[in-house]
Symmetry: C2
Subunit: 380 residues, 2 copies
């Protein structure tokens, strides 16, 4: 039976309204309130690529993510700690979330060896050998000093039943060790639900992680190559099992349709590199689909990316100018497209939030699906 | 005898104060007033690399330069014209200056053939053949629509006497043709003084260009490889020959010591790619010399680049963070160092201006030279 410990100050989550399974909430952290649903830009190496914190603030970002694996390798957590933590190191005064490094260790590092105690791996940068355990992942995240930190988890391919059983059990044991290792009240540790695309494993994992009573829960192991229908099915399975009074973070999701479908299924927090990565690859994200601005079609197009978008890029620059920057190899294109793409996701989350508050979420979703389907193929 | 035509509206230059040969002035243009001495950031391809116009405005830029040769080749002047000109194309509402393309044709283009009528050359981008004449250079600059435009000139190596004689004569003939070809009152055409490092040629060129009565004069063919003493000597030669009531633009100068010495010799306007190019090569410009922020010395240095600098970068980020961005290959380092370096040059010009207004220029110069010499080698 779910009967979690009350959330301890300074963390507090208020559910302000619900609409079906969707929720509008406020998550209080030591560096400010996060209004949910929220999309968090990813600052992998303690910088959201091509953007200053002032630009992030200007486009409405509230929560920013950074990656423990990357920062552990470079510049090293002690250098971030010497700066007073990530907030002052990267100049972002608002809430910050760090992942545990688990996902990168299992997707990016070389020559991994997992045992029940932890993982030994080699750096993708220089081949040097390192070891993460749950205790080490927490210690590093305490040095980094984010507001929200993650339990160390093992990530399996979503359709490998045997491996998912094993990885889930390890993830559960590691979550308990992370909780025991944690020393700082000013950081909220989220447990991570695993279980691939297997409903029974997901239920089992949701029950176990919920019982830990962490001030929020993350859903890992989705948006990693499985079909969209499988991801949505897992969210349907999880929704009634997750504690209603805790924020729910769906890791690594940032496609427009996925964000919409996940909000409908009770997700509160999202992050993804997609908006900034697409920006560096010349693509604009819109609610009507993607535009590749390198396309010659736009060479003399004096319109903004989206006439009704209020972002800095759309208020000042034409598609023709953006295409010129791209063809000329100017890095300003990455900046301007990142501003637009992050605005798209952050505004979408804010608009979904408002729809929940107004009790008209399904009407908004119907409208979004209609225009999205009419104009362009759905995003991959 | 110098007896120029009065400057026509909307262009007007007021000399507010002098201190020795130095001047503090205000140059009125259709897109705003330029307070001189001024340093203009270079937006080669209609973007100051790695910076948004909002960031340029925030760091105090007033005049921005763009390159005719580059924009002619890409995206093409007709595309800029369709956007309503450079101001709206690149989103910079303040004054803009374009060069004539002469310098790039003579330094960057392939397989040049010069005759008295113009220059045939091949694009450095794709080898395609093009021809610039004085009339064509003006027509292109009229399409681009900058406030200040330049006469088409021939640039010679500074110490080649025979070539400088020839190039100067051609530059004079071309300046007259540019003036005749010009059709738009809302653009100020500056004649360009040439003559290499030869005092008699410089005097002859100053007299000829002055007599044209253009609303401003540029000095070309310096800061192109000659010794600093030769450049300063030419400025000494030119100073008494240039019309005192017109702004004087020293093309391509942006090293700190050169800017100081040129202001002392009556120069009002500067431009250079140095601050932004150095930024992309990890170097910070300060009044005490350069810092290479890739250096391991800075790995744990929690100070800003300069404690007394008020730029966005120095107010928010440490040397340790900047070094991390550089080592991690993050493009934000180019943005943050460009902000600092441009602030250094723009603030230096503004401080020299204030010193002229206060009649204490030489005291400021003495102080600058002392601290500059004490700390680090003079910039190349």
């Amino acid at each position: 039976m779910y009967n979690p410990a009350p959330m301890t100050e300074p963390f507090r989550f208020e559910v302000q309204a619900t609409d079906g399974a969707a929720r509008a909430g406020r998550f209080h952290t030591p560096h400010g309130v996060i209004e949910t649903p929220v999309f968090a830009p990813v600052g992998t190496q303690a910088t959201v690529k091509a953007l200053t914190p002032a630009q992030l603030d200007d486009l409405g970002a509230s929560l920013v993510l950074a990656n423990t694996y990357h920062l552990y390798l470079r510049p090293g957590p002690e250098i971030v700690a010497e700066a007073g933590g990530l907030h002052s190191f990267m100049g972002w005064p608002g809430p910050i979330l760090t992942d545990s490094g688990g996902f990168q260790v299992f997707s990016l590092a070389d020559r991994r060896q997992v045992d029940d105690d932890g993982v030994t791996f080699r750096s993708h940068l220089d081949g040097s050998e390192h070891r993460f355990t749950p205790e080490r992942a927490i210690a590093i995240q305490e040095q980094l000093g984010a507001d929200i930190i993650m339990a160390f988890d093992e990530c399996a391919a979503p359709d490998d039943r045997l491996y998912n059983e094993q990885a889930m059990m390890r993830t559960h044991a590691w979550a308990e060790r992370c909780l025991a290792a944690k020393t700082k009240d000013a950081q909220a540790l989220f447990g991570i639900v695993q279980g691939g695309i297997f409903p029974d494993l997901r239920r089992q994992s949701a029950d176990f992680i919920s019982a830990l009573g962490t001030p929020g829960l993350a859903i890992g192991g989705l948006s990693v190559g499985e079909a969209k229908v499988d991801m949505y099915a897992m969210l349907d399975v999880l929704e009634p099992r997750l504690p209603p009074d805790r924020p729910r973070y769906l890791m690594g999701v940032g496609a427009i349709d996925d964000l919409v479908e996940a909000v409908r299924r009770g997700i509160d927090i999202f992050d993804c590199v997609l908006p900034t990565r697409l920006a560096r690859n010349d693509a604009a994200m819109t609610r009507l689909g993607r535009m590749n601005l390198r396309n010659a079609t736009y060479a003399r197009d004096q319109q903004p990316i989206e006439a009704d978008c209020d972002c800095y890029t759309c208020r000042h620059f034409s598609r023709a100018y953006l295409r010129h920057l791209i063809v000329a190899g100017e890095m300003l294109s990455a900046t301007l497209l990142s501003i637009h793409n992050l605005t798209t996701l952050i505004t979408l989350a804010a608009d979904l939030r408002q729809a929940v508050l107004d009790g008209r979420l399904e009407a908004m979703v119907t409208e979004l699906r209609r225009s999205y389907a009419k104009h362009r193929p759905v995003e991959a």
